[in-house]
Symmetry: C2
Subunit: 435 residues, 2 copies
Amino acid sequence: MNRLDWNTLDTQGQRTALSRPAQSRAESLRAGVEQIVARVRADGDAALRELTTKFDRCVLQAIEVSEAEWSQAEARLSPELKAAIDEAAARIDAFHRAAAPQPVALDTAGGVRVERMLRPIQRVGLYVPAGSAPLPSTALMLGVPARIAGCAQVVLCSPARPDGRCDDAVLYAARVTGVHRVFKLGGAQAVAAMAYGTESVPKCDKLFGPGNAWVTEAKLQVSADPEGAAIDMPAGPSEVLVIADEDANPAFVAADLLSQAEHGPDSQVILLSPSAALLDAVEAEVAEQCAALPRADIAQKALSQSRLIAVSSLAQAVEVSNRYAPEHLILQVGDPRALLDDIESAGSVFLGAWTPESVGDYCSGSNHVLPTYGYARSYSGVSVASFQKQITVQEVSPDGLRAIGPCTATLAGAEQLEAHRRAVTLRLAVLEDAA
Amino acid sequence: MNRLDWNTLDTQGQRTALSRPAQSRAESLRAGVEQIVARVRADGDAALRELTTKFDRCVLQAIEVSEAEWSQAEARLSPELKAAIDEAAARIDAFHRAAAPQPVALDTAGGVRVERMLRPIQRVGLYVPAGSAPLPSTALMLGVPARIAGCAQVVLCSPARPDGRCDDAVLYAARVTGVHRVFKLGGAQAVAAMAYGTESVPKCDKLFGPGNAWVTEAKLQVSADPEGAAIDMPAGPSEVLVIADEDANPAFVAADLLSQAEHGPDSQVILLSPSAALLDAVEAEVAEQCAALPRADIAQKALSQSRLIAVSSLAQAVEVSNRYAPEHLILQVGDPRALLDDIESAGSVFLGAWTPESVGDYCSGSNHVLPTYGYARSYSGVSVASFQKQITVQEVSPDGLRAIGPCTATLAGAEQLEAHRRAVTLRLAVLEDAA
């Protein structure tokens, strides 16, 4: 980890300190994904089979997971894991229901009723990666809000292993959350299949979920095409920023940093503290704990791009964090709520010593599909709202039109939109004639 | 207008009947916009001046509207128009406040507090077109929710006329809604300036507003670049779908169709009705009213791509409408609320004879920046939420961690994320030692 002092850095040094591993859309990546998308659009299932053999080293029989496979997966799963998935799903359900948007109705003038109604996006596609390990938790984080929203068709893609099977826990999580159909597809080809549809895979209106650079590039491409599909958000590698004071437990801080670092070699972890002693202690703890991890090599690579930064105060730490806009923000300080008001940008925030990031990754109830790579400046994590449309409705009575018609006509006149004006004045004339 | 009967069309015919004017991202458009964006990034203000001279035939002195210009604009404006802008702003404010997201707090288990807090997107950029006519109403529709959200920096770009001035009403609307700075910029160059920043124009985190094909393409490009900016939604030409029954007033229906058609030659209007008599009457009314419009030539072009479609029932009309997913949906039927439950996709819905679309365009209180081109299947119109981030927060007590720690550890184990598991078990061990 790189040790820096924020207040001795110049402007460029501060920028570098908060820079993320480059995620430029390399021309080769863009062209490669364009090719895959074009092949899937042209050849449908045949392209999917061929690409899956090539990239996942798996010869697909059926592309869709069968009823028998779902049952077998459930039968193979340990009762303990099933119970944990059920338990996590219940808390995710509780929080997402509480945070779901509500209908609104208001009279903005006498006889002018304005409402907002909620409708599920009809056809949604969920992507659950299984690169270094399968992620049943992601199936929960996408499947639960889709079910609450009431989406009519919920499709999930997750790559099969070379033996042709999807992960048992992913399938169980999909079943628990009411996902309707699962396809053994990964990468850009899965995204293309859900965006455009094939003989087997139904076309979806919006796609969700994290993925590697190929998946992300494919999501960007299909979302820019009116024939394609909307997406939840762009995504980059996972990241955490921890703010800790002198009383923080260095072992806890180190464990949280490492649980981000083990995600992938391009994950990024940053620790900000006004206490040099704490920075020293965490550095030592990280080295010790990392050595004992099965994924130590991955974590080491991530740590090599990561930073321990001395700041002058917790207030300055919050300033720096807002500039970075971390996906995960952990406040391991005596009074974390005192800092909360000043937090401007973050995906999800974890308060105090007993709230490791991993509880939010799995089962506190909040969503773990969060904006990375600085997107927390403008995007929010996935929620029920991500699976819905908010449709406004208005109903104006004759009295209502008498009240707001003149304002409408004046503004339409100013914009030289005469037909807009006449749609009002013609009605007002009818009302006057009738009076 | 083309007259069709839905039930005599085959699958391809039905698809064609609901097809929109092509909006393919032509390679020339993409390349042209890429060039403009690259020039603005490289040369900043100098590029903006040059491009503005080229495209807007306007030699800019200052790029930013000065305090004196704001005052002069306000002084020039008629009291009637000022009052109409104030009145519209007040109703837009009332509805958007009522529909704004609220914070949420919930215990998902004893000692496990999960919250959602709201934070404004700090720096937002609003685009207000002034192509065929300036649109002060769009300044209201973007400025009001930005103000309610509390965005720290609200920037607005609108192209100047050849005389170097921005429209007076746009400036007044910007002032009324608390926009902080206005720049005399249009087109792809305005989008690039707000996405990347120049010497004069501050960089923004998210861009909003409608525009022509160049603006839309530029928004798509900057939103796909992590260094760029997020966008509200892709946008295409404006459109309306009207469902009318045999008792609808043909003059009203025709007026609503025309107020959409006058927007631009690529606007699209569709009328669905089970009544042949009503379709006949509307067709005659459209011809008569259109002839009297100042923008008759634009409306004529739009009408040439538009359709009067006979359906077998109002239920079938709703089915067809859901398939089309119109930006504006007008229900000119005896009992419009009876159809509302079955509406799946639309930007905004207008109920009954006395609710012309133009009231929603200006001052009923709902937003007029809405998803077009079928995007209503997956996108919502602009609202306060569009200017905010929803950040989740969790705080777990020692008892809380005892309650949900085991579930977390089990799931982390299943995903082979050992450091995630240890971040929990290490804390539980400390709690056990202390007990």
